[in-house]
Protein backbone atom coordinates (compact mmCIF):
# COMPACT_ATOMS: atom_id res chain seq x y z
CA UNK A 1 0.00 0.00 0.00
CA UNK A 2 1.33 3.47 -0.89
CA UNK A 3 0.85 6.76 0.89
CA UNK A 4 2.62 10.00 0.10
CA UNK A 5 6.09 8.84 -1.01
CA UNK A 6 6.00 5.71 1.14
CA UNK A 7 5.31 2.10 0.25
CA UNK A 8 4.12 -0.35 2.91
CA UNK A 9 3.95 -3.92 1.57
CA UNK A 10 0.73 -5.78 2.39
CA UNK A 11 2.52 -8.98 3.41
CA UNK A 12 4.22 -7.37 6.41
CA UNK A 13 3.11 -6.47 9.93
CA UNK A 14 3.86 -3.07 11.47
CA UNK A 15 4.18 -1.64 14.98
CA UNK A 16 3.74 1.80 16.53
CA UNK A 17 7.51 2.37 16.47
CA UNK A 18 7.40 2.47 12.66
CA UNK A 19 9.02 -0.94 12.32
CA UNK A 20 8.08 -3.61 9.76
CA UNK A 21 7.84 -7.27 10.77
CA UNK A 22 8.09 -10.21 8.38
CA UNK A 23 6.84 -13.64 9.52
CA UNK A 24 8.53 -16.77 8.22
CA UNK A 25 7.22 -19.92 9.89
CA UNK A 26 7.91 -19.71 13.63
CA UNK A 27 10.34 -16.86 13.21
CA UNK A 28 10.12 -13.16 12.38
CA UNK A 29 12.55 -10.57 11.11
CA UNK A 30 12.03 -6.86 11.61
CA UNK A 31 13.50 -3.54 10.55
CA UNK A 32 12.71 0.15 10.14
CA UNK A 33 10.11 1.39 7.65
CA UNK A 34 10.92 4.25 5.24
CA UNK A 35 8.62 6.45 7.33
CA UNK A 36 10.49 5.51 10.51
CA UNK A 37 13.73 6.40 8.77
CA UNK A 38 12.32 9.81 7.82
CA UNK A 39 11.20 10.43 11.39
CA UNK A 40 14.60 9.60 12.85
CA UNK A 41 16.99 10.64 10.10
CA UNK A 42 19.75 8.64 8.46
CA UNK A 43 21.09 6.04 10.89
CA UNK A 44 24.80 6.42 11.68
CA UNK A 45 25.13 3.74 14.37
CA UNK A 46 23.01 0.75 15.22
CA UNK A 47 23.22 -1.40 18.36
CA UNK A 48 21.22 -4.63 18.46
CA UNK A 49 20.70 -7.46 20.96
CA UNK A 50 23.04 -10.44 20.74
CA UNK A 51 22.21 -13.93 19.48
CA UNK A 52 20.50 -16.13 22.09
CA UNK A 53 19.27 -13.12 24.06
CA UNK A 54 15.61 -13.18 25.08
CA UNK A 55 13.60 -10.08 24.29
CA UNK A 56 10.09 -9.04 25.30
CA UNK A 57 7.47 -7.45 23.08
CA UNK A 58 7.43 -3.68 23.40
CA UNK A 59 10.70 -3.42 25.30
CA UNK A 60 13.66 -1.46 24.01
CA UNK A 61 16.25 -3.94 22.75
CA UNK A 62 18.73 -1.71 20.94
CA UNK A 63 19.51 1.80 19.87
CA UNK A 64 20.17 3.77 16.74
CA UNK A 65 22.02 7.05 16.52
CA UNK A 66 21.24 9.61 13.88
CA UNK A 67 23.40 12.71 14.32
CA UNK A 68 22.63 13.99 17.79
CA UNK A 69 19.44 11.97 18.17
CA UNK A 70 19.44 8.57 19.82
CA UNK A 71 16.42 6.47 18.99
CA UNK A 72 15.48 3.02 20.23
CA UNK A 73 14.94 -0.31 18.61
CA UNK A 74 11.90 -2.06 20.10
CA UNK A 75 11.16 -5.77 20.18
CA UNK A 76 7.94 -6.19 18.15
CA UNK A 77 7.35 -9.65 19.65
CA UNK A 78 8.74 -11.77 22.48
CA UNK A 79 11.25 -14.52 21.85
CA UNK A 80 14.84 -15.56 21.43
CA UNK A 81 17.17 -13.81 19.00
CA UNK A 82 18.41 -16.41 16.52
CA UNK A 83 20.22 -14.20 13.99
CA UNK A 84 21.64 -10.67 13.94
CA UNK A 85 22.24 -8.80 10.71
CA UNK A 86 25.92 -7.89 11.08
CA UNK A 87 25.93 -6.27 7.64
CA UNK A 88 23.48 -3.58 8.69
CA UNK A 89 25.35 -3.01 11.96
CA UNK A 90 28.54 -2.49 9.95
CA UNK A 91 26.85 -0.28 7.36
CA UNK A 92 23.70 1.35 8.76
CA UNK A 93 23.64 3.55 5.65
CA UNK A 94 22.19 0.52 3.84
CA UNK A 95 18.88 1.16 5.63
CA UNK A 96 18.38 4.36 3.61
CA UNK A 97 18.95 2.47 0.37
CA UNK A 98 16.53 -0.37 1.00
CA UNK A 99 14.74 -0.37 4.37
CA UNK A 100 12.82 -3.58 3.73
CA UNK A 101 15.98 -5.55 2.93
CA UNK A 102 17.74 -4.33 6.08
CA UNK A 103 16.34 -6.60 8.76
CA UNK A 104 17.83 -6.09 12.22
CA UNK A 105 17.43 -9.43 13.99
CA UNK A 106 15.55 -12.70 13.58
CA UNK A 107 13.39 -13.77 16.52
CA UNK A 108 12.04 -17.20 17.33
CA UNK A 109 8.48 -16.50 18.41
CA UNK A 110 7.75 -17.27 22.05
CA UNK A 111 4.10 -16.19 21.83
CA UNK A 112 2.85 -16.32 18.21
CA UNK A 113 -0.44 -14.75 19.28
CA UNK A 114 1.42 -11.45 19.82
CA UNK A 115 1.40 -11.02 16.06
CA UNK A 116 -2.34 -10.36 16.32
CA UNK A 117 -1.54 -7.18 18.25
CA UNK A 118 0.51 -5.75 15.39
CA UNK A 119 -0.90 -3.66 12.56
CA UNK A 120 -1.49 -4.66 8.95
CA UNK A 121 -0.62 -2.23 6.18
CA UNK A 122 -4.12 -0.66 6.20
CA UNK A 123 -3.97 0.16 9.90
CA UNK A 124 -0.41 1.38 9.62
CA UNK A 125 -1.28 3.68 6.74
CA UNK A 126 -4.16 5.08 8.80
CA UNK A 127 -1.73 5.84 11.63
CA UNK A 128 0.78 7.50 9.31
CA UNK A 129 -1.95 9.49 7.59
CA UNK A 130 -2.99 11.01 10.91
CA UNK A 131 0.59 11.86 11.78
CA UNK A 132 1.28 13.44 8.43
CA UNK A 133 -1.88 15.56 8.80
CA UNK A 134 -0.80 16.66 12.27
CA UNK A 135 2.67 17.65 11.13
CA UNK A 136 1.51 19.36 7.92
Amino acid sequence: MNIDKYNFPDDLYYDTHYQWIRKDGEKVQFGLTPYGLDVTGDVLYLALPGIESNISAGDSCGSLEAGKWVGRVYAPVSGKVTKVNEAVISSPGLISQNPYACWFVEIELARPKELEGLMNSDSFVALITEELKRDA
Binding site: D42, L44, G58, A66, G67, K68, V70, G71, R72, G93
Partner: protein, 382 residues
Protein backbone atom coordinates in the same frame (compact mmCIF):
# COMPACT_ATOMS: atom_id res chain seq x y z
CA UNK B 1 0.27 16.46 39.12
CA UNK B 2 -0.28 19.32 36.71
CA UNK B 3 -3.20 19.16 34.38
CA UNK B 4 -1.55 18.37 31.09
CA UNK B 5 -4.63 17.23 29.22
CA UNK B 6 -4.26 20.15 26.84
CA UNK B 7 -0.56 19.47 26.45
CA UNK B 8 0.04 23.18 26.98
CA UNK B 9 1.23 23.24 30.58
CA UNK B 10 4.80 22.48 31.46
CA UNK B 11 6.21 21.71 34.86
CA UNK B 12 9.40 23.78 35.22
CA UNK B 13 12.26 22.37 37.29
CA UNK B 14 15.23 24.43 38.39
CA UNK B 15 17.97 23.71 40.88
CA UNK B 16 21.41 24.92 41.96
CA UNK B 17 24.32 23.40 40.00
CA UNK B 18 24.49 19.62 40.26
CA UNK B 19 27.22 17.13 39.44
CA UNK B 20 27.34 15.65 35.97
CA UNK B 21 26.36 12.23 37.35
CA UNK B 22 23.29 13.68 39.07
CA UNK B 23 22.15 15.41 35.90
CA UNK B 24 22.74 12.36 33.70
CA UNK B 25 20.88 10.16 36.19
CA UNK B 26 18.03 12.66 36.29
CA UNK B 27 17.80 12.58 32.50
CA UNK B 28 17.23 8.85 32.69
CA UNK B 29 14.84 9.11 35.63
CA UNK B 30 12.64 11.80 34.13
CA UNK B 31 12.38 10.24 30.68
CA UNK B 32 11.55 6.89 32.31
CA UNK B 33 8.96 8.48 34.56
CA UNK B 34 7.43 10.37 31.67
CA UNK B 35 7.23 7.26 29.51
CA UNK B 36 5.38 5.53 32.37
CA UNK B 37 2.89 8.40 32.51
CA UNK B 38 3.60 9.28 36.13
CA UNK B 39 4.82 12.84 35.57
CA UNK B 40 3.62 15.72 33.41
CA UNK B 41 5.41 17.27 30.46
CA UNK B 42 8.46 18.86 32.03
CA UNK B 43 10.95 21.62 31.30
CA UNK B 44 14.23 21.47 33.24
CA UNK B 45 17.13 23.93 33.58
CA UNK B 46 20.60 22.49 34.06
CA UNK B 47 23.65 24.05 35.63
CA UNK B 48 26.69 21.89 36.22
CA UNK B 49 29.72 21.88 38.37
CA UNK B 50 32.47 22.07 35.66
CA UNK B 51 32.49 18.88 33.65
CA UNK B 52 33.25 17.17 30.36
CA UNK B 53 30.36 15.25 28.82
CA UNK B 54 30.76 12.73 26.04
CA UNK B 55 28.06 11.40 23.73
CA UNK B 56 26.50 8.00 24.38
CA UNK B 57 28.83 6.07 22.11
CA UNK B 58 32.06 8.05 22.51
CA UNK B 59 35.36 6.82 23.94
CA UNK B 60 36.19 9.05 26.92
CA UNK B 61 39.95 8.59 26.52
CA UNK B 62 39.87 9.76 22.91
CA UNK B 63 37.61 12.73 23.58
CA UNK B 64 38.68 14.03 26.98
CA UNK B 65 42.00 14.91 28.58
CA UNK B 66 41.36 12.59 31.51
CA UNK B 67 44.53 13.34 33.53
CA UNK B 68 43.88 17.08 33.30
CA UNK B 69 40.27 16.67 34.44
CA UNK B 70 41.31 14.47 37.33
CA UNK B 71 43.97 16.96 38.39
CA UNK B 72 41.53 19.89 38.24
CA UNK B 73 38.55 18.09 39.75
CA UNK B 74 36.50 18.39 36.56
CA UNK B 75 33.78 15.74 36.39
CA UNK B 76 33.61 13.41 33.41
CA UNK B 77 30.38 11.74 32.43
CA UNK B 78 28.43 10.23 29.54
CA UNK B 79 25.14 11.54 28.17
CA UNK B 80 22.18 9.33 27.38
CA UNK B 81 22.04 11.16 24.04
CA UNK B 82 24.35 11.08 21.05
CA UNK B 83 26.65 13.61 19.45
CA UNK B 84 30.06 14.90 20.43
CA UNK B 85 31.97 15.78 23.56
CA UNK B 86 31.52 19.12 25.26
CA UNK B 87 33.04 21.09 28.09
CA UNK B 88 30.56 22.60 30.51
CA UNK B 89 31.87 25.57 32.44
CA UNK B 90 30.44 26.90 35.70
CA UNK B 91 28.38 29.62 34.00
CA UNK B 92 26.97 27.63 31.10
CA UNK B 93 23.27 26.89 31.06
CA UNK B 94 21.24 24.04 29.64
CA UNK B 95 17.62 23.11 29.40
CA UNK B 96 15.63 20.04 28.54
CA UNK B 97 12.09 19.39 27.47
CA UNK B 98 10.39 16.10 28.31
CA UNK B 99 7.12 15.60 26.52
CA UNK B 100 4.92 13.14 24.73
CA UNK B 101 5.75 12.45 21.10
CA UNK B 102 2.23 13.51 20.17
CA UNK B 103 2.43 16.86 21.98
CA UNK B 104 0.51 19.47 19.95
CA UNK B 105 2.78 21.90 18.14
CA UNK B 106 5.83 19.63 18.15
CA UNK B 107 6.47 17.77 14.88
CA UNK B 108 6.90 14.04 15.07
CA UNK B 109 9.88 14.06 12.71
CA UNK B 110 13.12 14.72 14.56
CA UNK B 111 14.27 17.29 12.01
CA UNK B 112 11.01 19.22 12.41
CA UNK B 113 11.23 18.98 16.19
CA UNK B 114 14.74 20.44 16.11
CA UNK B 115 13.55 23.30 13.94
CA UNK B 116 10.56 24.21 16.11
CA UNK B 117 12.37 23.97 19.44
CA UNK B 118 15.53 25.70 18.20
CA UNK B 119 13.41 28.54 16.86
CA UNK B 120 11.70 28.81 20.25
CA UNK B 121 15.16 29.08 21.83
CA UNK B 122 16.16 31.68 19.22
CA UNK B 123 13.14 33.75 20.26
CA UNK B 124 14.34 33.65 23.86
CA UNK B 125 17.92 34.62 22.97
CA UNK B 126 16.74 37.49 20.80
CA UNK B 127 14.67 38.81 23.69
CA UNK B 128 18.03 39.30 25.43
CA UNK B 129 19.13 41.60 22.62
CA UNK B 130 21.02 39.20 20.39
CA UNK B 131 20.49 38.26 16.75
CA UNK B 132 20.54 34.51 16.96
CA UNK B 133 19.34 32.20 14.19
CA UNK B 134 18.59 28.52 13.77
CA UNK B 135 21.30 26.64 11.86
CA UNK B 136 20.01 23.30 10.57
CA UNK B 137 20.09 20.59 11.63
CA UNK B 138 20.42 21.23 15.34
CA UNK B 139 22.46 24.32 16.16
CA UNK B 140 21.81 27.95 16.98
CA UNK B 141 24.30 30.54 15.76
CA UNK B 142 25.08 34.21 15.67
CA UNK B 143 26.76 35.32 12.43
CA UNK B 144 27.94 31.80 11.72
CA UNK B 145 29.31 31.16 15.22
CA UNK B 146 27.66 28.53 17.37
CA UNK B 147 26.15 29.66 20.65
CA UNK B 148 23.87 26.75 21.36
CA UNK B 149 23.70 23.05 20.48
CA UNK B 150 20.95 20.52 20.86
CA UNK B 151 20.32 16.78 20.98
CA UNK B 152 17.79 14.31 22.21
CA UNK B 153 16.50 10.83 22.66
CA UNK B 154 13.22 9.00 23.10
CA UNK B 155 11.65 6.23 25.10
CA UNK B 156 8.35 4.66 24.11
CA UNK B 157 5.82 7.52 23.81
CA UNK B 158 8.12 10.18 25.27
CA UNK B 159 11.06 12.23 24.10
CA UNK B 160 13.66 14.48 25.68
CA UNK B 161 15.12 17.41 23.79
CA UNK B 162 18.30 18.97 25.19
CA UNK B 163 19.79 22.39 24.59
CA UNK B 164 23.10 23.84 25.80
CA UNK B 165 23.86 27.56 25.85
CA UNK B 166 27.27 29.23 26.07
CA UNK B 167 26.89 32.05 28.59
CA UNK B 168 30.46 32.99 29.47
CA UNK B 169 32.52 30.36 27.75
CA UNK B 170 36.22 29.74 28.36
CA UNK B 171 37.61 28.49 25.03
CA UNK B 172 41.12 28.03 26.45
CA UNK B 173 39.81 25.73 29.17
CA UNK B 174 37.74 23.78 26.65
CA UNK B 175 40.89 23.15 24.59
CA UNK B 176 42.62 21.84 27.71
CA UNK B 177 39.69 19.64 28.78
CA UNK B 178 38.75 18.13 25.42
CA UNK B 179 40.93 16.45 22.85
CA UNK B 180 40.63 17.83 19.33
CA UNK B 181 42.16 16.67 16.06
CA UNK B 182 44.58 19.56 16.14
CA UNK B 183 48.31 19.10 16.31
CA UNK B 184 49.03 21.51 19.12
CA UNK B 185 47.24 23.97 21.31
CA UNK B 186 48.72 27.09 19.77
CA UNK B 187 47.48 30.68 19.70
CA UNK B 188 46.27 29.97 16.18
CA UNK B 189 44.33 26.94 17.35
CA UNK B 190 42.65 28.96 20.06
CA UNK B 191 41.89 31.77 17.65
CA UNK B 192 40.49 29.30 15.13
CA UNK B 193 38.23 27.71 17.74
CA UNK B 194 37.16 31.10 19.04
CA UNK B 195 35.97 31.97 15.55
CA UNK B 196 33.61 29.01 15.58
CA UNK B 197 31.78 29.66 18.85
CA UNK B 198 30.45 32.65 20.71
CA UNK B 199 28.72 33.32 24.02
CA UNK B 200 26.21 35.66 25.57
CA UNK B 201 28.92 37.60 27.38
CA UNK B 202 30.82 38.11 24.15
CA UNK B 203 27.72 39.20 22.28
CA UNK B 204 26.38 41.56 24.93
CA UNK B 205 29.62 42.70 26.51
CA UNK B 206 28.57 41.13 29.78
CA UNK B 207 26.29 38.25 30.68
CA UNK B 208 22.97 39.22 32.27
CA UNK B 209 22.09 37.47 35.54
CA UNK B 210 21.23 33.81 34.98
CA UNK B 211 17.71 34.39 36.29
CA UNK B 212 17.14 36.94 33.51
CA UNK B 213 18.46 34.54 30.89
CA UNK B 214 16.25 31.74 32.21
CA UNK B 215 13.17 33.94 32.22
CA UNK B 216 13.71 35.04 28.62
CA UNK B 217 14.22 31.45 27.50
CA UNK B 218 10.92 30.54 29.16
CA UNK B 219 9.27 33.59 27.58
CA UNK B 220 10.60 32.60 24.16
CA UNK B 221 9.27 29.07 24.50
CA UNK B 222 5.92 30.26 25.84
CA UNK B 223 5.60 32.82 23.05
CA UNK B 224 6.56 30.41 20.27
CA UNK B 225 4.85 27.25 21.47
CA UNK B 226 2.02 28.65 23.55
CA UNK B 227 3.01 26.82 26.72
CA UNK B 228 2.13 27.87 30.22
CA UNK B 229 5.14 27.39 32.46
CA UNK B 230 4.42 26.31 36.02
CA UNK B 231 7.26 26.11 38.52
CA UNK B 232 7.37 22.68 40.14
CA UNK B 233 9.70 20.21 41.79
CA UNK B 234 10.67 16.57 41.50
CA UNK B 235 8.04 14.19 42.85
CA UNK B 236 8.95 11.91 45.74
CA UNK B 237 8.82 9.03 43.26
CA UNK B 238 11.37 10.76 41.03
CA UNK B 239 13.57 11.45 44.06
CA UNK B 240 13.46 7.74 44.95
CA UNK B 241 14.24 6.76 41.36
CA UNK B 242 17.16 9.21 41.37
CA UNK B 243 18.60 7.69 44.55
CA UNK B 244 18.37 4.23 42.97
CA UNK B 245 19.80 5.31 39.62
CA UNK B 246 22.62 7.64 40.69
CA UNK B 247 25.22 5.01 41.67
CA UNK B 248 25.14 3.58 38.16
CA UNK B 249 25.74 6.99 36.60
CA UNK B 250 28.66 7.49 39.01
CA UNK B 251 30.21 4.15 38.07
CA UNK B 252 33.17 3.59 35.75
CA UNK B 253 30.99 1.15 33.82
CA UNK B 254 28.79 4.02 32.74
CA UNK B 255 31.33 6.83 32.52
CA UNK B 256 33.93 4.85 30.58
CA UNK B 257 31.37 3.04 28.47
CA UNK B 258 31.93 -0.55 29.56
CA UNK B 259 28.20 -1.15 29.47
CA UNK B 260 27.07 0.66 26.34
CA UNK B 261 29.64 -0.03 23.63
CA UNK B 262 31.84 2.84 22.57
CA UNK B 263 32.89 3.74 19.06
CA UNK B 264 36.56 4.65 18.76
CA UNK B 265 37.68 7.50 16.56
CA UNK B 266 40.72 8.34 14.48
CA UNK B 267 42.05 11.74 13.47
CA UNK B 268 43.86 12.95 10.42
CA UNK B 269 45.31 16.22 9.23
CA UNK B 270 45.85 17.05 5.58
CA UNK B 271 47.35 20.15 3.99
CA UNK B 272 46.38 20.71 0.38
CA UNK B 273 47.77 23.39 -1.86
CA UNK B 274 45.08 24.79 -4.12
CA UNK B 275 45.74 27.66 -6.58
CA UNK B 276 44.06 30.10 -4.17
CA UNK B 277 46.02 29.03 -1.13
CA UNK B 278 46.62 26.30 1.40
CA UNK B 279 43.65 24.31 2.72
CA UNK B 280 44.18 22.51 6.01
CA UNK B 281 41.64 19.91 7.04
CA UNK B 282 41.64 18.33 10.49
CA UNK B 283 39.16 15.50 10.55
CA UNK B 284 37.79 13.07 13.13
CA UNK B 285 36.16 9.87 11.91
CA UNK B 286 34.87 6.83 13.68
CA UNK B 287 37.30 3.93 13.78
CA UNK B 288 35.69 1.97 11.01
CA UNK B 289 35.65 5.09 8.84
CA UNK B 290 31.89 5.04 8.46
CA UNK B 291 31.06 8.62 9.45
CA UNK B 292 32.85 11.98 9.51
CA UNK B 293 32.35 13.10 13.10
CA UNK B 294 33.53 16.60 12.29
CA UNK B 295 36.11 18.59 10.36
CA UNK B 296 37.97 21.78 11.13
CA UNK B 297 38.89 23.68 7.96
CA UNK B 298 41.47 26.43 7.92
CA UNK B 299 44.15 27.85 5.65
CA UNK B 300 45.33 31.01 3.98
CA UNK B 301 42.58 31.30 1.35
CA UNK B 302 40.02 34.11 1.39
CA UNK B 303 36.38 33.06 1.78
CA UNK B 304 33.32 35.26 1.31
CA UNK B 305 31.25 35.38 3.39
CA UNK B 306 33.69 34.59 6.19
CA UNK B 307 31.15 32.22 7.77
CA UNK B 308 31.33 30.00 4.67
CA UNK B 309 34.03 27.82 6.20
CA UNK B 310 31.98 27.24 9.38
CA UNK B 311 28.94 26.46 7.24
CA UNK B 312 30.87 23.92 5.16
CA UNK B 313 32.09 22.25 8.35
CA UNK B 314 28.46 21.96 9.48
CA UNK B 315 27.42 20.47 6.14
CA UNK B 316 30.09 17.79 6.42
CA UNK B 317 29.42 16.85 10.05
CA UNK B 318 27.99 13.34 10.37
CA UNK B 319 28.39 12.63 6.66
CA UNK B 320 28.74 8.92 5.93
CA UNK B 321 32.20 8.16 4.58
CA UNK B 322 31.24 7.62 0.99
CA UNK B 323 33.01 9.42 -1.83
CA UNK B 324 29.76 10.16 -3.64
CA UNK B 325 27.99 11.56 -0.59
CA UNK B 326 30.93 13.74 0.42
CA UNK B 327 31.26 15.02 -3.14
CA UNK B 328 27.53 15.65 -3.51
CA UNK B 329 27.34 17.64 -0.28
CA UNK B 330 30.32 19.82 -1.18
CA UNK B 331 29.10 20.44 -4.73
CA UNK B 332 25.61 21.29 -3.45
CA UNK B 333 27.13 23.70 -0.93
CA UNK B 334 29.02 25.59 -3.65
CA UNK B 335 26.17 25.33 -6.16
CA UNK B 336 24.09 27.84 -4.19
CA UNK B 337 26.33 30.57 -5.59
CA UNK B 338 26.45 32.25 -2.17
CA UNK B 339 30.02 31.20 -1.46
CA UNK B 340 33.09 32.63 -3.15
CA UNK B 341 36.63 31.48 -2.45
CA UNK B 342 39.17 32.93 -4.87
CA UNK B 343 41.23 30.20 -6.49
CA UNK B 344 39.59 27.37 -4.56
CA UNK B 345 36.82 25.26 -6.04
CA UNK B 346 34.42 22.61 -4.80
CA UNK B 347 36.70 20.05 -6.44
CA UNK B 348 39.62 21.19 -4.29
CA UNK B 349 37.56 20.67 -1.13
CA UNK B 350 36.39 17.27 -2.37
CA UNK B 351 39.98 16.25 -3.02
CA UNK B 352 41.20 17.32 0.40
CA UNK B 353 38.29 15.68 2.24
CA UNK B 354 38.78 12.38 0.43
CA UNK B 355 42.48 12.54 1.16
CA UNK B 356 41.78 13.15 4.85
CA UNK B 357 39.48 10.13 4.90
CA UNK B 358 42.13 8.02 3.20
CA UNK B 359 44.79 9.10 5.65
CA UNK B 360 42.61 8.68 8.73
CA UNK B 361 43.68 5.12 9.36
CA UNK B 362 47.21 6.16 10.32
CA UNK B 363 46.46 9.68 11.53
CA UNK B 364 49.24 11.14 9.42
CA UNK B 365 48.94 14.37 7.52
CA UNK B 366 50.17 14.99 4.05
CA UNK B 367 50.59 17.88 1.73
CA UNK B 368 49.28 17.80 -1.77
CA UNK B 369 48.97 20.46 -4.43
CA UNK B 370 46.05 21.03 -6.73
CA UNK B 371 47.80 19.18 -9.53
CA UNK B 372 48.12 15.98 -7.57
CA UNK B 373 51.70 16.31 -6.27
CA UNK B 374 52.64 15.85 -2.61
CA UNK B 375 54.84 18.21 -0.63
CA UNK B 376 56.25 17.99 2.85
CA UNK B 377 56.80 20.55 5.58
CA UNK B 378 54.24 23.03 4.40
CA UNK B 379 53.75 26.14 6.53
CA UNK B 380 51.41 25.87 9.48
CA UNK B 381 48.11 27.08 8.10
CA UNK B 382 45.95 26.86 11.20
Amino acid sequence: MLDVASGKKLRVLDSPPRTAAEHMALDQVIVNAHSRGIIPNTFRFLQFKPCALVGLHQNVFLEVNVPYCQEKGIDINRRITGGGSLYWGPLELGWELYAAKNTPGIPRRVEGMYRVLCEAMVAGLNRLGMRAAYRPVNDIEINGRKISGTGGTELEGSFVFQCSLLVDFDVDEMLRVLRFPIEKISDKAISSMRGRVTSISEQLGTAPPLDTIKQEILNGLAETLGYEMVLGKLTSQEESMLAETLPYFQSDDWVYGKSCGVVNTVDSTVNYKAPGGLIRVQMRLDEDARVIKYVVISGDFFAYPTRAVNDLETVLKNTPVCGNQISERIRAFFATGDVHILGVTAEDFIAVMLLAVERSSNGQGSIRDGQGGYYENCADGL
